[in-house]
């Protein structure tokens, strides 16, 4: 069985960078796949990789990470203005971050239109597809 845990934006917005990374890593180390609303900051993504490496052990073999984020260059000016207002009022909730433990997630393949998550759960590889809006 594969367990997904949704992490809403409001659970993360008031946390410091270190606490955000640790919270996500704690879920992953419990062998659950994180579905986080929004994305980490660029430095936090690097911190996540760094802390993951520090915690690698025979039990914990790392993570698989993927971020779905819309291509803002394809938005028209009105959409961009709406996006800026929404970000100011509600925070940047755009996109979704998926983080899975390497012991469960074999790999996450990503291209602009979809992501494919391959698990190690059963002998036949399972695929979960999520279409990008």
């Amino acid at each position: 069985m594969v367990t997904f845990q949704f992490v809403p934006y409001h659970d993360m917005e008031n946390l410091s960078s270190a606490k955000r990374v640790n919270k996500l890593l704690k879920i992953v180390k419990d062998e659950r796949i994180v579905l986080m609303e929004g994305r980490l900051k660029k430095q936090e993504e690097v911190d996540l990789i760094e802390i993951t490496m520090e915690e690698i052990s025979p039990k914990f073999k790392g993570i698989e990470l993927s971020v779905i984020y819309p291509d803002k260059s394809k938005q028209d000016p009105l959409q961009k203005i709406k996006g800026v207002f929404a970000n100011v009022l509600l925070g940047d909730r755009t996109g979704m971050t998926i983080i899975g433990p390497a012991s469960v997630v074999k790999k996450i393949e990503q291209n602009p239109d979809k992501i494919e998550l391959f698990t190690k759960e059963s002998r036949s590889t399972k695929r979960y597809r999520k279409k990008r809006k």
Binding site: I49, G62, I63, N111
Partner: protein, 211 residues
Amino acid sequence: MKAFFSKLLKKLKFNPFSKRSHLKIGLYGPPNGGKSTLANRICIDWLGEEMSSTSHIAHETREINVKEQVTLKNKKGKELTFSLVDTPGIATRIDYEDFLKRGMKKVEAKKRAKEATKGVIDSIKWLDNMDAVVVVLDSTKDPYSQVNITIIGNLQARDIPVLIGANKVDLKRSNIDVIEAAFPQYEVVGFSAKYGKKIEDFYDQLFKLVK
């Protein structure tokens, strides 16, 4: 405060404490992209000696290797002197059992995995020291990996100039178009570090990167 002034001076392209000859150019990327092969190619072409050991098994480079005073000369006779920094591949997972599958003994595999994790941490820490970075990707593989996106996004956030090197163009499955489509805002140059194919194009782009 120090970081703020450092970033400001970098933006203004003015640093009173550094000389052009102290440029550091880093080779970054995922494991087995060909960073050390490229480092060797540069050193053989311009210094007449190899720099790093290479292998088909991932995480062969587990320590930062620096070659000081590498001087390139372009067709116009202009010189570019820099320190070449070959870094361990950045990964989000390291499993010693993967090394067992490649024929290593358990003790050796566990040691390699431990060193590889430290190598990734060192690579990340060294990002701050770089003046320019060549992200070396295997052009036969899917470039849309989060590691690639994270490395390049982070370099962009730090205002470090980036050149994407699409290595292994000698192989049939090589596809530079996919890399260009994945990172349209960056210059992508294709070459084969192993055989030296199109390596002159890479050197030309390196001059443009740090001009």
